[in-house]
Amino acid sequence: MQGPAFVKINGVSLTYRQAEEETLAVQDLNIDIQEGEFVAVVGPSGCGKSTLMKLVTGLLNCTGGSITIGGKPVNGPIQGVGMAFQNSTLLPWRTTLDNVMLPLEIVEPHKRRLRREKQAYIAQAMALLKTVGLADFADKFPWQLSGGMQQRANVCRSIIHEPRLLMLDEPFGALDAFTREELWGVMQKLWMERRFTAILITHDLREATYLADRVFVMSKRPGRIILSKEIDIPRPRTLDTTFEPHFGSIVHELREHIHSVRES
């Protein structure tokens, strides 16, 4: 490990309190993420993967431990982070282009500059749409796009304002297998160009192995990290990579761990 971590999750736990009952959602999480690193968190369903995401972005406050991002402790919703969910949450009254440009209307310094430098920003958004193959659909409304296209636009929206941290919560989960694999390539390309720090939450082990530098396996509730696995496969990875024995053995190893967690 080199230098201080960009995202530092230090002994974090979270207890939900509902009426009289207390549920421990995640327990004693320790994760260090370097700037520009792509990590994935996998685990059985209900293990608190999404809770982890909300904790890192400050949408939930942890009840134990601490989280720092870029050296600053997270106490409330952190600003300017990019987020993409399984549900694309595009706004149906905005065109694809306007949807992608939404963060620019909210995040400084873009918000201040948007009116004056509108054309430059539109060009920037169009370039991004072109990268993901949506250039011809900029003027279409989200409901005129296929599920895969919506998710591409969603990813564009999450990185248009050049966030240092991108949170992905099963962004490709609702797509068919072919579209999903195609979008892994798109995601990798965007990451290699821009090198943001990314945390991907997923239950797809092949997806995690394809995209991430490191994969964390979480136990079932209360969620703990039971394995941290370096993925030492050179980039850019391709679909062919996924059929190589080394790729297969990594997926297999992850699978074993998940299996043992579910059994216990």
Binding site: K54, V81, G82, M83, N87, L91, P92, W93, W143
Partner: protein, 256 residues
């Protein structure tokens, strides 16, 4: 006739068909005109009393639209407050439901004490009856923003006002317009009730005075005029809806 023309002609055919059925039933059963006048007699009365009907119809249209406009503004604003703040919601909602449960006709005498008989009670009755569905719908539109969408905006650092203007209000628009269609027809109910009880102008008054002189065809003429105005105003609301929130219909041809 192709399907598109048929769809266009359908409302007219059904309406005319109903009038023919009504006429036929009256002729066959030989019901007395002062109990149920035949449509042809009603239309005769409509022509005969055209100047009076026009005068009173315009009065009703004016009080209704005025009350409705107040309802849109007041109901819209209150809906935004209720939908945007949980505290306002829990505080005000029971009061609103209670208020809406009061039969509005019971309110008219109170309004007469405060404002005297005439235009003002009719406008206010149209307002109070039309404003509740607007409040409920706008508040629902705001309160049902997808949590993920809210998270996306919050993690971008959006303020509450930004979430309201960028997502809440556009999202509430289809709900608002859906409620306008209900509210405009309710507004007619309100103004006509008030005119019947406490006015010497408007369709409600015209029908009351006609029935007290056993001019039943004129009473029915009044009913048909109110119904026609309701349909026209409803169509206006639909037109606005299509213009403002076409995205919510996703290109379907329904309701056009």
């Amino acid at each position: 006739m192709n399907e598109k023309n048929l769809i266009r002609a359908m409302p007219w055919m059904v309406t005319i068909g109903l009038f023919i059925l009504w006429e036929a039933v009256c002729v066959i059963t030989r019901v007395e005109t002062f109990i149920l006048p035949r449509p042809s007699v009603v239309f005769e009365a409509m022509v005969k009393f055209a100047p009076q009907i026009t005068h009173h119809a315009l009065q009703t249209l004016m009080t209704t639209t005025a009350g409705f406009a107040l309802g849109v503004v007041g109901g819209g604003l209150l809906g935004i407050f209720i939908g945007a703040s949980r505290l306002v919601y829990v505080g005000l909602y029971p009061v609103l439901v209670g208020f809406n449960s009061i039969p509005k006709v019971a309110l008219v005498p109170v309004l007469v004490i405060w404002f005297g008989i005439g235009t003002v009670p009719a406008i206010i009755t149209a307002f109070v009856i039309s404003f509740f569905p607007i409040v409920v719908n706008v508040a629902t539109g705001l309160a049902t923003i997808e949590p993920e969408l809210r998270d996306v905006l919050r993690s971008l650092g959006a303020t509450k006002t930004e979430i309201l203007t960028k997502i809440g209000l556009p999202r509430a628009m289809p709900y608002l317009f859906a409620s306008l269609k209900i509210a405009i027809t309710l507004a007619f109910v309100g103004s006509v009730i008030a005119e019947t009880v406490a006015s010497n102008e408007g369709i409600g008054y015209l029908m009351l005075s006609a029935s007290s002189s056993y001019n039943v065809p004129l009473v029915f003429a009044g009913l048909i005029v109110v119904a026609a105005m309701g349909v026209v105003m409803y169509a206006v609301a639909v037109w606005f809806e299509r213009r403002m929130t076409g995205w919510a219909f996703r290109g379907s041809d329904l309701m056009s």
